[in-house]
C-alpha cells in the first residue's frame, strides 16, 4: 500500500506537469512567429529526485525507483562508482544532459535573433556547470553519426503550440540520476519546455535502449527569477588525481556483487520493497503493486511499455557506415577524417602535401584517392583570399594589386601524397597502400631537378617494423604484397618522429606494444592536436585483440592510457585534442576515457574470476561484459563478444 502511495505521488507530480502543459495548449496555438517568451533567468524549484531520502538531493546508492532498467542498466548502475568524478578526465565535466536541469544554480535561457528579420535562430541554455547549450531553430539538420558527441549534445527545436520541443542527439555517456544509474552514448533526449506565467515546466524523455526497457521520463520545474543571475562555476582541474594513490590511470568501480551499499537506504525506508528499489520496466507502473502481495507474478503483468525510437545496431553502424562511399569530416588544424566504408582514414593536408594514416580496404582505393584529391584541391590548392592591398604586399609574384592573382589565377595543382603511415597490418589499414602510395611522391633523389625526377616515385610508407614483418611474411596461396605497398621505412622502439615539421607541425608515431597486435602505432599531430588512434580505440566494438600476432588486452588498455596522457581537453572534459578511431565517430578525451574505463572494468572483472579459479567457459557463463555488450558487443560477425572475452581471458591468464 505504501509503495502504491509512493507511485501515486510520483505519478501525481508528473500528472501536474502534464496537466499544466495541456492547459497551456488549451489557450490556443501561438501566433506564427510569436512563440512564448522563455528567455529569462530561471530558479530551480522542484523535481522528482529523492531529496528527502538521500539528503541534499543526493540519491543514495541503489535508489533506482522509477527507472525502467533492463538487466544491463541495473548491472551498470550497481558497478559504477561515484568516485569516477575524481579521475583527471572527469573532474571538470558538467552534469550529464538529463541532470543539467537539476543542478545547483538555476538556468538561463537566451535567444539569438536575426538582427534583420528578428527570426529566432537559436535558444541558448546555460547552467552553472555547463557550457553553452545551443538549440537551433533554423531547421538545420543534425550532424552525421560520425560527428563528435558532447555533454550537451546537438539540439534542434520547434514550437508545438506553446511548448518548445527540443530534440537532442550526439550526447556523451553519462547518468540519468546521480549515484549510479548511467546512460550510454547512444541515447537521445527530448525536452518539452512550457511556460505558464512565471513557471517553466521541463518534461524530459530519455531514450536509451542500451540500458532502458522504455524511455525514462522526468520533469523539472523552474520559476522566473528576474533578479537572479545564473553563475558560472570555474572548475580548476587538478594535476593530481583526486582519488588518492599514485596511479593516474585508476578507474574506480565496483566488481559485480561487491557493492554492498545498494540497500543501505532501505533501512530508513522500510516501506519500500527491496525488489522494487531495483527498478525495471514493470516497477514503473501501478500494476506492479499487485506482485508485491503475491496476487500476481511479474511475468503476468501487461504494462503499456513505450517503444524506443532507437535501433542500437543502426546507431552503431552509422558511426562507421559501410555504404561504399567516402565522407570527409574536417577535424582540426591540418587534419581531416575520411569515413571510408567502415573504416576511418586520417589525412594531414597542407602546403607541403598530404600525409595519409592508413589506406582503407583495397576495393575502396579509387574513391579514397578521389576524396584525397578533392581535399588537396579544395583545402590546399584553392586561391587564398588576399588581405593586403598595394604594391608592398609581401610574398606575392605577379600583379601589383595581388588580389587579382586570386581572381584570375588557376588553382595550383593538388599537392602530392608525401607519407603513408600504417598503424597496423590490419587489412583496412594497408589495403589501399598499393594505389595510394603509388599515387604519391616522396623526393628521394638529391641534386638539382630532384623534384621532377621520377626515380622511386611513390609516397614514403612508414610503420612499426612488426607491420613490415607481417606484410612480408609468405602466406600460402596468396600473392606477395608488391614492394610499393610495403613500408619503406620502419621504426622499432617506443616512438618515431618525422625528422622535420610536416605541414607546419611535428608528427610523432608512438608504438603501443602488444596491443591489438605487436605492431600498433598511435600518430600524434602535435600542433593540430589530433591523435590517429588506429585500432586501439573504437566507438563501434570491443577492441579486436589478435593474440596470434602478439596482441594483448593489457596492451590495449595501456594504449588507451597513452592516448589520455597525450590528450588535453579544451574545457570541461571535452574538445581539445581530437581522437580519430579506425572505426567509429570522431572523439575526444571524454570519449576515450569512457572506453578506457569500460575496458579497465572488464579487465578487473575477468581477473577477479580468474583469481577465483574459473575456467574460460565459467567466465563466459558469468557474463562479465553484460552491461557493455549492448553498446560494443556482437553475437555475429568477425569479432563476437565471445571471442573478445576469450581474448581477455587468455591475455590475463598468460599475464603478458
Amino acid at each position: 500500500m505504501t509503495y502504491r502511495t509512493r507511485l501515486t505521488a510520483r505519478s501525481a507530480l508528473f500528472a501536474v506537469a502534464l496537466l499544466i502543459t495541456v492547459t497551456a495548449f488549451a489557450q490556443g496555438p501561438a501566433r506564427p512567429g510569436m512563440p512564448t517568451e522563455i528567455a529569462s533567468e530561471w530558479r530551480l524549484d522542484s523535481n522528482e529526485d529523492p531529496g528527502a531520502i538521500g539528503g541534499q538531493g543526493q540519491p543514495p546508492l541503489g535508489y533506482y525507483l522509477g527507472i525502467p532498467f533492463n538487466a544491463a542498466g541495473r548491472m551498470r548502475a550497481d558497478t559504477s562508482a561515484e568516485s569516477i568524478w575524481g579521475t583527471p578526465e572527469y573532474g571538470c565535466r558538467p552534469h550529464s544532459a538529463p541532470h543539467q536541469w537539476r543542478g545547483l544554480g538555476g538556468a538561463r535561457i537566451l535567444k539569438e535573433q536575426d538582427p534583420l528579420t528578428r527570426e529566432i535562430k537559436a535558444y541558448h541554455i546555460q547552467f552553472m556547470r555547463s557550457l553553452d547549450w545551443p538549440i537551433y531553430m533554423d531547421g538545420r539538420p543534425h550532424p552525421p553519426a560520425w560527428a563528435p558527441h558532447t555533454w550537451s549534445g546537438f539540439s534542434t527545436g520547434e514550437w508545438v503550440g506553446n511548448t518548445l520541443k527540443v530534440t537532442t542527439t550526439h550526447l556523451k555517456d553519462g547518468y540519468i540520476r546521480r549515484g549510479g544509474p548511467q546512460t550510454s552514448d547512444l541515447y537521445t533526449m527530448t525536452d518539452f519546455i512550457t511556460r505558464h506565467g512565471d513557471i517553466l515546466t521541463v518534461v524530459t524523455v530519455i531514450d536509451d535502449p542500451v540500458y532502458l526497457d522504455e524511455p525514462y521520463i522526468q520533469s523539472t520545474t523552474y520559476t522566473a527569477d528576474l533578479t537572479g543571475t545564473t553563475a558560472t562555476e570555474n572548475c580548476n582541474g587538478s594535476e593530481f588525481t583526486e582519488n588518492g594513490g599514485t596511479d593516474r590511470h585508476w578507474v574506480p568501480h565496483f566488481l559485480p556483487g561487491q557493492n554492498t551499499a545498494l540497500t543501505e537506504w532501505l533501512k530508513n525506508e522500510p516501506w519500500v520493497p527491496e525488489v522494487a528499489s531495483r527498478g525495471g520496466l514493470e516497477t514503473v507502473y501501478p500494476e506492479y503493486a499487485a506482485t508485491l502481495n503475491g496476487s500476481k507474478k511479474v511475468s503476468d503483468l501487461k504494462v503499456p511499455a513505450s517503444k524506443s525510437a532507437i535501433t542500437v545496431d543502426k546507431q552503431r553502424s552509422n558511426q562507421s557506415p559501410k555504404d561504399g562511399e567516402v565522407h570527409i569530416q574536417p577535424v582540426q588544424g591540418n587534419i581531416y577524417m575520411l569515413v571510408a566504408d567502415g573504416t576511418n582514414i586520417t589525412v594531414s593536408a597542407g602546403p607541403e602535401g598530404l600525409l595519409v594514416v592508413n589506406t582503407g580496404t583495397a576495393p575502396m582505393s579509387d574513391k579514397i584517392l578521389a576524396a584525397i584529391k578533392q581535399l588537396s584541391s579544395s583545402a590546399i590548392a584553392a586561391p587564398t583570399p588576399n588581405n593586403c592591398i598595394g604594391v608592398n604586399c609581401p610574398g606575392t609574384w605577379g600583379w601589383a594589386a595581388p588580389f587579382l592573382n586570386t581572381v584570375i589565377s588557376s588553382p595550383a595543382p593538388p599537392k602530392p601524397i608525401r607519407y603513408v603511415i600504417n598503424t597496423s597490418a590490419a587489412p583496412e589499414h594497408i589495403g589501399g597502400n598499393q594505389k595510394i602510395a603509388a599515387a604519391g611522391f616522396f623526393p628521394r633523389t638529391a641534386g638539382f631537378g630532384a623534384a621532377v625526377d621520377n626515380i622511386g616515385r611513390s609516397a614514403l610508407v612508414l610503420s612499426h617494423e612488426n607491420v613490415l614483418l607481417k606484410m612480408s611474411a609468405k602466406v600460402p596461396n596468396q600473392p606477395a604484397i608488391p614492394a610499393v605497398a610495403m613500408p619503406s621505412d620502419t621504426y622499432f622502439d617506443e616512438f618515431r618522429k618525422l625528422p622535420e615539421y610536416f605541414n607546419g607541425e611535428a608528427v610523432i608515431l608512438y608504438h603501443a606494444p602488444a596491443a591489438n597486435t605487436d605492431g600498433d602505432s598511435l600518430v600524434f599531430f602535435r600542433h593540430s592536436e589530433v591523435i590517429s588512434a588506429g585500432n586501439i580505440y573504437s566507438t563501434v566494438s570491443y577492441p579486436v585483440i589478435d593474440l596470434a600476432n602478439g596482441g594483448t588486452f593489457q596492451g590495449v588498455i595501456k594504449g588507451l592510457n597513452k592516448i589520455l596522457d597525450l590528450a588535453v581537453a579544451e574545457i570541461r572534459g571535452q574538445g581539445g585534442t581530437w581522437v580519430i578511431p579506425s572505426h567509429g565517430r570522431l572523439s575526444d578525451t571524454g570519449d576515450v576515457a569512457s572506453y578506457r574505463n569500460t575496458m579497465t572494468m572488464i579487465r578487473d572483472r575477468v581477473q577477479d574470476l580468474i583469481d577465483k579459479g574459473m575456467t574460460l567457459e565459467q567466465v563466459k557463463a558469468a557474463k562479465p561484459t553484460m552491461d557493455f555488450d549492448g553498446r560494443y558487443g556482437s553475437d555475429t560477425g568477425p569479432w563476437t563478444t565471445a571471442m573478445f572475452v576469450e581474448a581477455v581471458y587468455k591475455s590475463l591468464k598468460e599475464k603478458k
Binding site: L13, S46, Q58
Partner: protein, 131 residues
C-alpha cells in the same frame, strides 16, 4: 491522499533548498565509517567545486599512501577565514574523514582537520561540513 500531498510538498521544498555537489557524497563516501590519518601535507588545492588536501599517511596495513581528502569549496572555506595560504606544504596534520566506498581507494571526505603545531582546526563548528 493527505500523505501524498505532504510527500510531494516535502520533496519539492527539500530539493529546492538543496545545495548540490557535483557528485553525490552519499554515493561516494561511506558516511557511517571514519578513517583517521596523521601525516605530512603534500598538497593543498584550494579550488572549486571542492578543495582537496593531499597527505602522506599510512593505510590500515601501515604502508605509506597518498590520501586525497575532499574538502569544501573556496567560498565556504573563505567564510571561515581559510585561504590558499592557511596550510603549508610539509605541515604535520591529523584528519578524520569518511572513507571512499571503493575498495583500494585512498580517498576520504573531510570531517575535521587539526594542525597540532599551532592549534588550527576545522570541523569543530556545526557549519563545518562539506557541502
Amino acid at each position: 491522499m493527505r500523505r501524498v500531498f505532504l510527500l510531494v510538498a516535502a520533496t519539492m521544498l527539500l530539493v529546492g533548498a538543496a545545495a548540490y555537489a557535483h557528485h553525490s557524497y552519499a554515493a561516494t563516501y561511506d558516511t557511517a565509517k571514519e578513517v583517521k590519518l596523521a601525516g605530512k601535507l603534500m598538497q593543498f588545492s584550494f579550488k572549486n567545486p571542492h578543495s582537496y588536501v593531499t597527505i602522506q599517511a599510512p593505510d590500515a596495513k601501515g604502508a605509506m599512501q597518498r590520501w586525497a581528502i575532499e574538502w569544501a569549496g573556496t567560498s565556504q572555506l573563505a567564510n571561515r577565514g581559510i585561504t590558499q595560504d592557511t596550510l603549508k606544504i610539509g605541515d604535520e596534520i591529523t584528519i578524520v574523514g569518511r572513507p571512499s566506498r571503493v575498495p583500494g581507494e585512498f580517498k576520504a571526505l573531510m570531517v575535521n582537520l587539526k594542525r597540532p603545531s599551532d592549534g588550527f582546526s576545522w570541523g569543530s563548528r556545526p557549519d563545518d561540513v562539506v557541502d
